[in-house]
Structures are given as C-alpha cells and as structure tokens.
C-alpha cells in the first residue's frame, strides 16, 4: 500500500476520501487537515486552532468525528475519510437541510465542523436530548454565537431523519 520513504521523508499514501481513491505524496506526520485542504483541494474542512480545540477541522474517519488538525495522515490510511463535501451528494443530509431551514450559519467558517460533528452524533443517536447535544457539540466553537440555532437545527434534523432520512 505504501512505498518507502524517499530522501525527504515523503511517502506515497493511498487515501479514500468521500468514497474516492487518492494517492498523495506527503510526509506521514502531516496532519490530515492539510492533506485534505492542500493536496486534495477540498477546502470545506477548515483550520481554526491547530490543536483540536475548536472543531472547525472535523471530518469523519470510518464514520467517527475526528479533529483532522491533530490526526496524522498516516492514521487515515485504509479508513473511510468523509469531509463536508462528501457528507451527501447534493447537500441534502438531514443536518445540512436543517442548517438551511433554521438559518444557522453566519460567517459560516466553523459550520463544516459543526455539521460533521452533528452528523456523527445523529448517526449514533438519532434522537439526542439537549444534554446529548451539549455533550457532543460543546467542543465546537462558533465565534458568531450560532449555538441556539445549532441546537434547534439538530432537533430539526432528527425530525427530518424520522420523516424519511436522507433524500438520496
């Protein structure tokens, strides 16, 4: 799967991102965030703090929400990586639909991470209580302060899920 390190410690790695295969040539300790953004050009995943404090960089690894800014790319090899661009084919994941219905984003910068975190929550717990939402979402910072709408939209997303879930 992987070739030997070259003289610059670069490694050829195969990644599965949004159900597509990519080959990248990077240093294996590079955070997944920068590989996604710079090598693959998927800029929906954001840099916010670099030390896993804000959640703007949240992606799914095998369905689990992780902070890509602190995940070495080598840890993602052989796993299904999902970014905001791949959460749904056309932006109609229940969480995305609820975010639009409830007019959640303001500047919008943190919301890829918010949505990915919320989607992982709902995958595990399709009907979260307010306390469940507190637990899952309180490590995702929104400087614009959209928290009230995030909470409302997650509840709305559970209804959309119950109404029939993913459109596609």
């Amino acid at each position: 799967m992987t070739k030997k390190l070259d003289e610059q410690n670069f490694l050829e790695l195969k990644l599965t991102v949004n159900r597509k295969e990519f080959t990248v040539n990077v240093q294996p300790d590079t955070p997944l965030l920068w590989v996604i953004r710079e090598n693959l050009g998927l800029t929906g995943t954001k840099y916010g703090c670099g030390i896993a404090l804000c959640g703007a960089c949240t992606v799914h690894l095998n369905g689990e929400a992780v902070r890509s800014c602190r995940t070495p790319v080598s840890d993602a090899v052989g796993k299904q990586i999902t970014t905001i661009e791949g959460l749904s084919d056309d932006g109609t994941h229940p969480v995305q639909r609820a975010w639009i219905e409830d007019e959640v984003p303001q500047c919008g910068y943190c919301h890829s991470g918010q949505i990915m975190t919320a989607a992982a929550l709902l995958a595990e717990n399709p009907k979260p209580t307010d306390a469940d939402i507190d637990d899952a979402m309180s490590d995702n910072i929104c400087r614009c302060g959209t928290y009230q709408r995030i909470r409302r939209a997650i509840h709305r997303a559970t209804e959309i899920l119950a109404e029939g879930g993913l459109k596609k």
Partner: protein, 721 residues
C-alpha cells in the same frame, strides 16, 4: 460568491471589465466614467449600473460593496435592490465588488464595511439602483410594444403590459441598455414593501453547509506557495540576526526570507512551513516594549484616573453636585485588552507581477488595503486588484489601519517573486495585537436626599484607537477620541450635572476597533454604575432608569419592552437573579434582561436573555435576531472569559485554551423582540454586544449582592466562602 476561486472566473475578471463585462450605463456620471470606459458589451450580460448586472438568461447579479462576514449583507443588500427591481429572487446571484470609488460607502467616502452601517449606507442607493434598472426595463418593453410605458409594469422578472403582453428581463436587457437613464425615480412607500421586512432566507447558507463557500484561506493559485511569518515576540521588536539553515533543511521549505514584519518561511504547504518556522534561529532586538506588563499598566491607569482628563462632556457642575450631595457613590471599573479571535485566522493570497498585483483576502477595508498594497508592491493603485472573499468573521480586525495582513503578504510576495498565501496560525493571530484597548474607569454619582441622581462624573483612561492613524483628524474632537467616550458621553439619562473626561495614553500595544468599539467598555461601566446608583437610592433598577428617560422615548420604549417580555415584576426562583441594561450604539436602541445563576464554585451560568431592539426600519428580521444572538454571545464571552494580558512585553494568551470562547452548553436562551419602526435603518451587527456584560453583572448583584467591577468576571470572587 464561491466563483471567486474558479479560475475561469478569475480569467474573466482579468480580461473583462472591472465588473465583468456588459454595457455599463452608470448610476451616476462618475460611475459611468469609472466603469463604463473599460466595458464592452460581452456575453449578453447587461450591467444596469455598478451594482446590478442582468444577463440574457435572466440572472440578476448584485455586486455587493460591503463584505460578508456573517452579518448577512450578501442577502440584505440584494433585498434592497430586489424590492424595487421586481426581479425573480431565485435568479439573484451575489458577487463581491472590486475596489472602485463607485463602491464607496455613502457616508465614509471610502470602500469598507464597519460601524454597523452597511444597510444604512445602501438603504437609499440600492433601492434607487433597483428602481432605475426597473424603469429602464419597463421603457425598453414599452418601446418594443410601441405602447406608453405607463401601461406597463414590472413583476417577478418580467415586464407586463396592460394588454397582457410580457417579456422577461433577460429578453429586454439589450434594449434596456440603450434606454435613457430615468430621472427622479420614485421609491416605494414602506407600506408597499414586499421584500424588505420579510425574513428572506440567506443566499449564502447553502454554500456554507456544503463546503463550497470560499474564504480567503481557501484560495489556491497555480504555483502558489504557503508562508508563515515569525514575528517579534514583543510589539515593536526587530530581527537582530537570524540563521535560516535549519529551517531551509526542512523538506518542503523553499525559501526563508527576511521581511519587514519578521522572518518568512515559505514552503510547499502549511505543515512544512510550520516545521520550518520552528527550526528558525532568530536573535531579536526586543525594542522599547520589552518590559511592558498589563499589571504595571493597571497601576499607571488607576493613578491617572484620579486626575482630570480632557473634557468630553460638561454640563452643569458635576464636581459641585458631588460635593453637595446627600450621598456619593464612587467606583472603579476595569476591562482588559481583547482579541477579535475570528474563527478564520488572518490570511492573504498575493500574486505579484512586475506590473500588477492581485490579492485575494477577506477584508473589511478595501480602499485602505488597496493603496497600502500598492505602496508595498511599488505599484500604482490602479495596478492592484483586490478580490474580497467571504470573511470567516471580522469584528473589526479585518479593517486594519495599517492593512497589516495585506501589506505583510505583499512584502513576502515581493521577496520571493511567486504567488503566495500568508497564513497566520491561531497563535500568530492571537498574539498579533490590534486589540480592543484595556480601560480603567473612575465613576462617581451624586444622589440627593430623595435618591434622585443630581450629578455624574466619569473619568476614562485608556489608549486611543485613532491616535496616530489616518483617521485621527476625523475622529478626534478637541483632543478627545470620540470612540473612547462613546456610550458614556452620550448617556440618555436626565442628569443635571455631568462631566465625562478622558486620558488617552500612548502605549506600544497596537489597538483597534473591536465589535462595538468604545461602547463595549462604556456600556459596562455606565450601566453597572446606574445599577449601583439605583441600589443606593433604594429604587428598582428598571424604574430608576425609566424615570430618567422622559426625553428619550426610543430608549424608554425598548427598556419597557424588555422588562415586559422578561416579566421583570415577576419573582424568580431564589437561585436565579435578574439584571437589566440599556444602551444605544450605532444608532440602535437596545435593552437586555439577563437571568443568571451562580454555582457554589462561583461559576456564572446565564440562562435567559431577553433583548428588545429598535434599529429603525428592518430589512430582514431574522438577520436582526441572529445578530442580537451573536452580539450577546460575543459580549458574554468577553464578560466571562476574555482577557489578553502582557508580561515582559509578551502576550500571554495563544489559543482557545487560554483565550476561551463561550460554548454551546453555556448558551443562554435568547429571545429577541424587534420594535416596529419606519425610521431609517440603523446598526445591527454591533449593538447587541454592549448591554450584555452589565445586564449579567447586574443580575449577579441582584442574586449575590456582589458587584462586578472588573472583567472578565472572576469565579474566585463569587465563590461561596
């Protein structure tokens, strides 16, 4: 909006006219000259004027001259146009304006976004733009049908005649372009509004939920490198010497160059640039601020506060009133430096060529950046092009008086002669200065024997954000920076003797406007102190304020509305306290009532905030509500957590671990009540911030009897003994 990154779009901008082609009629003569000269008639797009372009497929492109940083202008500005243009809302697209005098703020005379003024700036202009374009389309249809234009009207992207003929805007654009500019178009009476006043869905929400929204950090150019700059550890420091060898040895690092702001490490990507930067060996000349500490400054400020400053407002004789009062209350308040901490750290992409400089960034300050970039590049301003991307938050930071994040990137591009993206890490951003100033206030109030307030003296000590900037002459009145005293000097309360004075210090920490500017601190001081006076007078804090507002009806109305909606007169459970605050800023009147509890450990939880706002005519009510929610969180974050401190000249905070943000589990329930009004629209982005700190502090007092006079609120002081 997300087209900015698309290369075909970029090429189009390069080869097309300044607004992308089409015949430009010009909304006014200077605009026609500025934009019309370069414009041909390309691609069937018809530029009605600098702000509206209609293409033959009916797409209406609105050119937004204010930056979208979350406040919703990429929706509210199109709403102003659409109200009069009678176009199909589903066919509206928004793109950011290039830098051109045609796009100047109607009051400032430069292009920029701030002061909560975007809607106010465009309220008349963009409705007139829409009406003018509509009249030309109607005239074109009437001419086609050879009927009187009075027999035609526009609706939903079409012109319809009284005999039932109909043509779409797309079909009419070519002809409309040749119609004479109508004079004196009449704008609708507010009673006829169909778009304005509706909670229209934001146009930028879908792209902000699917990863397609393009912020400055997301711009990539072919052959672009990424640079991080190691800046001096102390403000005003300089590189004395440096060794680039270890940094250069890091795989992926391409260049290490000295630039005026420090040492730039240029690499193939962020990660090698950051590893390379850590490997730098630099000896700094720390300069004159190496011993600066906020603890020391605090003592200096406190001693100055006991002396008279430059007078900002003097009515009656406050000193005499204080001497003759039945009782005098005297308090000291203090607030720290605050960082803007936008979620998207600062960044800027520059493509510098021998005869051109193209810039992509999220900026609030196009005109200033444009000329500063030209100067840094050694080019003429007309050779510089700025593409304004979406802003991942602004809060004032992206309108920098020195255009620091733009100029520094141009300097790196100049040094390496390649397209470059300069990224500020979170740490760079937080330590990078341009903070809300630290303030110290001495405030005294005089009460007569009946508990009436007869005098107030407020002395303000802190750095001026205007001193030494290009705005000094406009913003300093008789030596007083109006932004230092705003929110105190203009108190609405009927007080016979008032004195507000100011000490402005020169300190080597760069300071700047921060969402709500001077109001962010003065509202805390004045509204907390009004509560102190009410308590001393034995009066209800709400009634005490209300009794002083007989000549301030809009203030009084929001105060009453907030009190009513919060059930001010209804007792709370004993573990809860309630506080009220009232403040006008950026033309808007806001009252907030906060309900809080305090844990045995002293942690404050805000459960509910009722917010009443009068911001004049409302364009998009849901946006107003969203901005109130946002302002409350911003102000609450500062009240509970925010502090930038310095020791040995070094900023002690670096990231969200030591400069924390309010989290979802701490979010109060916020209820926003908007006063119906036909007054001109006033600010929305900032005015929600100032009242929350005093409302919370007053609620804490009501609950615990402990008065908060220093922010951020200290849990230690509230801890049960």
């Amino acid at each position: 909006m997300s087209e900015i990154l698309n290369l075909s779009r970029r090429d189009f901008l390069k080869t097309g006219s300044i607004i992308g082609g089409g015949l430009v009629l010009g909304f006014s003569l200077p605009v026609r000259q500025a934009l019309g000269q370069a414009a041909g008639n390309k691609g069937g797009a018809f530029a009605m004027n600098a702000f509206v372009r209609i293409s033959s497929d009916g797409t209406v492109t609105i050119v937004a001259n204010h930056s979208e940083m979350g406040q919703g202008v990429y929706t509210s500005l199109p709403m102003l146009v659409a109200e009069e243009l009678e176009c199909d809302w589903t066919k509206i697209k928004v793109e950011s304006a290039p830098v051109n005098p045609a796009y100047n703020h109607t009051e400032w005379g430069i292009q920029g976004t701030g002061g909560s003024t975007s809607v106010a700036s465009e309220w008349e202009r963009l409705r007139t733009v829409g009406a003018t374009a509509r009249e030309m389309l109607v005239a074109a249809a009437a001419d086609t049908w050879k009927v009187a234009k009075e027999t035609c009207h526009a609706e939903n992207g079409k012109v319809v005649s009284s005999s039932g003929q109909s043509l779409t805007y797309g079909q009419l654009v070519d002809k409309a372009a040749r119609m004479p500019l109508p004079k004196d178009v009449k704008l609708k009476d507010p009673s006829q509004f169909k778009v304005i006043g509706q909670s229209v869905k934001r146009l930028d929400t879908p792209e902000k939920t699917n990863g397609k929204a393009i912020f400055g950090l997301d711009v990539n150019l072919p052959g672009m490198l990424v640079a991080l700059i190691e800046r001096p550890p102390v403000f005003g420091g300089k590189v004395q010497s440096f060794k680039p060898d270890k940094a250069k040895a890091v795989p992926g690092v391409k260049e290490v160059v000295q630039v005026p702001s420090g040492i730039a490490v240029v690499a193939t990507g962020f990660w090698p640039a950051s590893i390379g930067r850590e490997a730098l060996e630099i000896v700094w000349d720390e300069g004159p601020n190496a011993n600066l500490s906020t603890d020391g400054m605090r003592e200096q400020y406190a001693s100055l506060a006991r002396t008279s400053g430059k007078v900002s407002r003097k009515e009656g004789n406050a000193e005499k009133a204080l001497q003759e009062a039945a009782s005098v209350i005297s308090s000291q308040y203090e607030v720290p430096y605050l960082a803007h901490a936008t979620m998207e750290p600062l960044n800027c992409v520059v493509d510098l060529r021998p005869d051109s400089c193209e810039i992509w960034t999220g900026t609030q300050f196009q005109t200033a950046d444009w000329s500063a970039a030209a100067q840094a590049a050694g080019l003429k301003p007309e050779q510089v092009k700025i593409h304004t991307t979406l802003l991942g938050g602004g809060f004032g930071r992206r309108a920098n008086p020195q255009s620091d994040f733009v100029v520094q990137a141009v300097q790196v591009a100049k040094a390496i002669k390649k397209p470059v993206k300069v990224i500020w890490t979170r740490e760079d951003d937080m330590k990078g200065g341009w903070y809300r100033p630290m303030w110290y206030d001495q405030i005294s109030g005089a009460l007569d024997a009946k508990g009436n307030i007869i005098g107030l003296h407020h002395t303000i000590v802190g750095q001026s954000i205007m001193l030494g900037t290009p705005f000094e002459s406009a913003m300093m009145v008789d030596g007083v920076d109006v932004t230092s005293v705003e929110g105190s000097t203009d108190t609405p309360y009927k007080i016979p003797n008032i004195l507000v004075d100011l000490h402005s210090l020169r300190i080597g920490v760069p300071v700047q406007w921060w969402r709500s500017v001077g109001h962010s601190h003065n509202a805390f001081v004045v509204e907390s102190f009004m509560d102190e006076l009410a308590h001393a007078a034995g009066k209800d804090p709400y009634e005490f304020r209300r009794s002083l507002l007989s000549k301030a009806p809009r203030h009084r109305a929001v105060l009453e509305l907030a009190a009513e909606k919060a059930s001010w007169d209804t007792p709370l459970p004993k573990e809860r306290g309630r506080g009220i605050a009232l403040h006008k800023s950026f033309g808007s009147f806001i009252a907030q009532v906060a309900e809080v509890s305090v844990s045995p450990k002293g942690d404050v939880q805000v459960h509910r905030v009722v917010c009443a706002v009068d911001c004049g005519s409302v364009v998009n009510p849901d946006t107003v509500a969203a901005q109130m929610e946002s302002g409350i969180v911003f102000g609450l974050t500062a009240a509970l957590y925010g502090a930038i401190t310095l020791k040995n000249g070094r900023v002690q905070q670096s990231n969200f671990n030591n400069y924390p943000m309010l989290a979802l589990n701490e979010m109060p329930r916020v209820e926003v009540h908007i006063v119906q009004s036909t007054e001109k629209p006033t600010g929305v982005g900032e005015p929600g911030v100032p009242p929350i700190a005093p409302a919370v502090a007053n609620a804490i007092f009501a609950l615990t009897g402990k008065r908060i006079r220093r922010l951020p609120i200290s849990s230690d002081e509230l801890k049960k003994a």
